[in-house]
Amino acid sequence: MAKAPDFEVQDIGDYLVTPPVMPDSMAHSQPFVAKKEHQEALGFPGELIDNWQEVAVAKLGELTKKYRGLQVYLDSCVKCGACTDKCHYFLGTGDPKNMPVARQDLLRKVYRRYYTLPGKYFPKLVGAEDLTEEVLDDWYKYYHQCSQCRRCSVYCPYGIDTAEVSMAAREIMDTVGKGQKYCNEIIGKVHTLGNNLGLPEKALAHTLEGLEEDVLEDDGVAVKFPLDVKGADVLLVTPSADFFAEPHIDGLIGYAKVFHQAGLSWTVSSHASEAANFGLFIGSYENMQKVALRIREAALELGVKRIVFGECGHAWRVGYSFLNTLAGPFDFLDSNYPVPQHIIEVTHDLLKQGRIKLDPEANDDKRVTFHDSCNVARASRMGSKAGGQFVLPREVIKAACNNFFDMRSDTIEEATFCCGGGGGLLTDDLIELRTKGALPRMQALKEVSDQHQITHMAAICAICKSQFSKVLPYYGFEMDQIISVHQLVGDALVMNTEH
């Protein structure tokens, strides 16, 4: 980091100490508000409408009738406090409105005021409040300090998922014209160009050609990176960061090598050149579906038999949990394979079948730990058994690398901490929040590094990779210590020319 941060980065210090409550310590943090054109492109009002209170309250009522989860979650919380020390943003900032229950209460107090009897007649007694400008400001600030990672929902005795509440709140804010620039601008790009980065087809083609040259140069193998190839067996849908960003791109090279070595014909689509689906983050079913449908359209257009997702956390949530609902049925694909499949599932299967071979010694210069990405861990699955999302990536890593060590058990698998940049918060205007929110993960990484001289942390999410590249240096690590799981795979893959 060349530039010193204009906020104080907490010392990593003792492992996982719950901070005291420090009211309003993050009250200054909020992302840029979406501009008129970003809002209108998604069908939302360009700016805060005049009768926003009325519309917001009505929208809240509408959402409780559309989403059982939201209705049950708003009613059921008993304020037991189980979730209060579970959010990485609370642990990293001490701001009490970052405790999951308090974050939910920002919406719940309005729900109670307008939609429950005690809230109508005894608001003070039950903590109900009018929807005022101040409350709207709090919504905007604190629903953009939630990465929708679902860690709180693991510990809630009723499974209350703050992600659902924060998505509803963001949808309400979009509806009254107060959207977030980062998410809405990006979703607009996907609707018009097909990916978050706004890469036109030509640039994508050029990039993929360049990758072919690089791999040929480095490994002497003519690995292809096909684009829009009709009749390919596999459509690879991967986060567009894989095409450009470090360390993502080495993961993409890993997928391509696996396909090459296994003799699978595959292609990327310029129409669905994005696995990420930020429609999820803003709670907009319509936008999420519109983005998801591009994958269906591409699969039909190219006549593929399988859909495989690259390494991306929330994309895998949308892919695994929602794609069939939003864009199915996929009866036109090969029914021998799940739709969609994760690239880790593909590699794992190929390893088991002996169709590819890894030489773990190739990674002997590395000592690796694994960061479970939140959406993969708590909102999806891999393989046929519950919990496969923890087992499969670890088995793939261990096959690719001799020195693997897990972080502390209360910071991995279902208890994993968000990287701090998920849920539509991976934007520079939230860098303080992102850095502080990474603290619990950094503490666990520090601990395992001290014990096992860890050199690298592998991840299977584009957001995690970007986020860690940015925040690792704030905590005394190197930015290139974060790598793709498929970088390990690509480096260890035994390449031969039999195919």
């Binding site: 005291p20 409550v21 409780t64 559309k66 989403y67 059982r68 989860g69 209705q71 049950v72 009613d75 059921s76 919380c77 008993v78 304020k79 037991c80 406090g81 189980a82 979730c83 209060t84 579970k86 009490p96 405790m99 229950v101 308090a102 429950t116 005690p118 007694l125 039950v126 903590g127 679902r150 929902s153 510990y155 809630c156 005795p157 009723y158 499974g159 209350i160 998922d161 079913y285 319509e286 579906q289 449908l293 269906r296 039909l300 695994y320 949990s321 929602f322 609902t325 939003l326 199915g328 036109f332 799940p338 739709v339 708590r378 999806s380 699955r381 519950a386 919990g387 999302q389 279902e414």
Partner: protein, 247 residues
């Protein structure tokens, strides 16, 4: 005395039953448009039944979250469960054998309730995070429950109520035959607070009891790839035919 209490109990019980059923109907009829179980989640229906069973009986998730909250919460709820069963002795004649057995131990269950409630209340005062999220009603509910448990215990050990008469009154309630109840302030307090909790049940956080069973993060089967999940309002938006998508 008996008549007034009877009317109050009928009315509040009516509100409780109708209000809670309406709430449950609302939960049951509101669609869950997307698959959102907190994973790892069971991949079969019977697995989900087990998961909910563990939540209801053992408070599995709370155990993962906080051992103290789990201990106090579980003590209170388990105590309440057995105390309620023991109260069946006022409504059965002859008293079922296992109810008679349970009521031998009901003071211990009452103590479990009190200890649990005291612990939960102490957390509200002592833990800064829990204090921050507590509204006046959160304290009050705990206090009311403590007074209910305390008054029950008081009548068992100290200010005895006329048990025979209470039982006649209770059986009378069941038969819509208003009985007599001589004035005992502790008993009246006990019954009125119970009536009050019944009254607020469908409008308050006490809805967590039915809510758990309708929580999609806990009651959904993890099988979205195997079985296409479509909810009512999203149906019209999800009629993708191969032809339509090509166009």
């Amino acid at each position: 005395m008996g008549l007034a209490l009877s009317v109050i109990l009928y009315v509040t019980l009516g509100v409780f039953i109708i209000g809670t059923l309406r709430r449950i109907a609302r939960y049951a009829s509101t669609p869950a448009p997307l698959k959102i179980p907190t994973t790892p989640a069971p991949t079969t229906r019977s697995g989900v039944v087990m998961r909910l069973g563990r939540e209801v009986v053992l408070f599995e998730s709370l155990f993962k979250a906080s051992k103290w909250t789990w201990l106090f919460g579980w003590l209170f709820h388990a105590g309440l469960f057995f105390v309620l069963l023991a109260h069946l002795r006022y409504f059965t004649e002859p008293v079922w054998w296992w109810v008679a057995l349970l009521s031998q131990f009901s003071p211990y269950f009452g103590m479990m309730m009190l200890i649990g409630l005291a612990g939960l209340l102490a957390r509200r005062f002592l833990v800064d995070r829990v204090r921050y999220i507590s509204a006046p009603s959160d304290y009050l509910m705990l206090v009311f429950l403590m007074v209910i448990a305390g008054s029950g215990l008081a009548m068992r050990y100290w200010l005895h109520a006329d048990i025979v008469q209470v039982k006649e009154f209770a059986l009378g309630l069941l038969a819509f035959d208003f009985g007599i109840l001589s004035f005992n302030p502790i008993l009246v307090l006990h019954l009125l607070l119970v009536a009050f909790l019944l009254l607020i049940f469908p409008f308050s956080k006490l809805l967590h009891a039915p809510g758990l069973f309708f929580s999609p993060s806990r009651n959904q089967v993890d099988n979205p790839r195997e079985k296409r999940h479509i909810a009512a309002w999203a149906k019209s938006a999800n009629t993708n035919s191969t032809e339509k998508s090509r166009g």
